[in-house]
Symmetry: C2
Subunit: 291 residues, 2 copies
């Protein structure tokens, strides 16, 4: 799929700018030059999967959105309004797979009023193909100790903020090396998360993911997958893991709302062969995130 460069296949909804959410021309500017989202990365977001006119996992995203807002001392978001905007987006965009993003900003410096908007964009080829070909991954030090979130609430660990420049830089560093993605490690060498995904490990018939209190974002897709896997008889657990744990596991995946799942086929140059359980794990992830 090639996107037209004029943004015509995109959809924008102004969520907080009027009496109610309304469709905004994607080819008309929406934000003022002094919006704190744009000049300070001061706000939060969520990315949801929109598929065949339905938005998936919306309650988990609403919960995390509200929690992120609280961590940033933003006014509590009106979740019904965000839900209404999301429904409007789903009706307007129609079929196909798309990434639907909520953005909630502290607003204009000159007015102090929060801004909020929603964008929808078709899912790109690279993302769709990663579901079947998997991803080559490098580990990267994030530079935090595990206990930072307890000691320094201003580090905003666990909030999905708009300040993603370092996450984007880590992804660029991977691409420069001919790789696809990154798994962050803590100072202690613990596995954390990807820049835009959660880490899932299958080993001995169980699924594992790093503990949220290690200073990571609680994953909506990870939570969905674990709920479904337990129904199917898998045991699931949050567990502190290191790189050797990943290398000796049956399989490692990165899960997220839009890419759904991408198996890690290579980690720091070591090949990770496709395990017998791969088809089942990937099917469960797909059902959990899109079903």
């Amino acid at each position: 799929m090639v996107l037209p460069q004029d943004g015509s296949q995109r959809l924008v909804i102004d969520v907080l700018g009027g009496a109610e959410p309304r469709v905004h021309d994607p080819n008309a500017p929406l934000l003022y030059a002094d919006d704190l989202a744009a000049v300070r990365g001061d706000g939060i977001f969520e990315t949801l999967m929109l598929r065949q006119g339905e938005v998936r996992n919306v309650h988990r995203h609403l919960t995390r959105f509200r929690n992120s807002a609280a961590m940033l001392n933003l006014p509590e978001p009106d979740l019904e309004r965000w839900q209404a905007a999301t429904d409007l987006a789903a009706r307007t965009f129609g079929g196909g797979e798309a990434a639907l993003r909520w953005v909630y900003s502290r607003g204009r410096e000159s007015t102090g009023l929060p801004t909020g908007w929603l964008t929808v964009a078709p899912v790109g080829d690279e993302i769709i193909s990663a579901r079947t070909t998997g991803v080559k991954v490098m580990t990267a030090e994030r530079g935090f100790r595990l206990d930072l979130s307890q000691r320094s609430p201003w580090a905003l660990i666990g909030a999905k903020t708009l300040s993603y420049a370092a996450n984007m830089a880590a992804l660029r560093a991977a691409k420069e090396r001919g790789l696809d993605d990154v798994i962050f490690l803590s100072d202690e060498g613990n596995v954390l998360e990807g820049p835009t995904s959660s880490v899932i490990v299958a080993a001995g018939g169980a699924l594992y993911t790093p503990p949220v209190d290690a200073g990571i974002l609680p994953g909506t897709s990870q939570a969905s997958l674990f709920a479904l896997a337990e129904q199917r008889g898998w045991s699931t657990q949050q567990k502190a893991m290191t790189v050797p744990d990943l290398l000796s596991a049956d399989g490692v995946w990165l899960v997220s709302s839009v890419r759904i799942q991408a198996r890690v086929t290579q980690l720091d140059g070591r090949d990770l062969p496709r395990p017998d359980c791969a088809a089942e794990v990937e099917q469960m992830a797909t059902e959990a995130v899109t079903g």
Copy 2:
């Protein structure tokens, strides 16, 4: 000074959107909903002092702007164009003191073209009064080890990125405690910098500031002040310091382009009395940043 809430005392210049920089109505939206500045904090900025129609320290800001862009793999900024936009802003805004901000974004997701703009806003009362009353400060762990910038270039330490949510959160945490500002410490307890300022210490007739390779932003105002202080017979030095070093010094200041200097009158609850050298240091800072 009370700003009108409609932004009418503000100035916006669209730097990269047309054939040349042009004034943009501050009450008209400028940015598209998918600008990576607004949805990922993916870009850089500089804040300069505009005073009586003149912009100060512009070469130091241009140099840091170019370096920040390189660290983020942004296309090299056309510094002549940013200079021309700045000249246009200075001519258009007229007299008084104002904060002039350059913002350079990776641009719209849907086009991949960078965006760049400039805003000017009058300096607020709170900032002006801090020059004479000083600031009460708390220290805050930033959560990085000193060597993070060497090991993890994707942490973007030393680049002035738009991803400032954690800096803003630290300032909010200070205000909640009835304080004015923050000094970040490394994991090792070394003094680093403020969220939007450099730390300057006077002790025994010398001026000190933390070393840039400790993972801080090189300060344009700090560099200006040190250059002038050396002409006036002060010795100046980059030096690793801890909180006890600050408490036992003659004086501690936070310096930045728009607030210029604010003496730290209280650090973590300990009063720091005004030293004999204060008038001279503050006068030098003012001349260095505005002269």
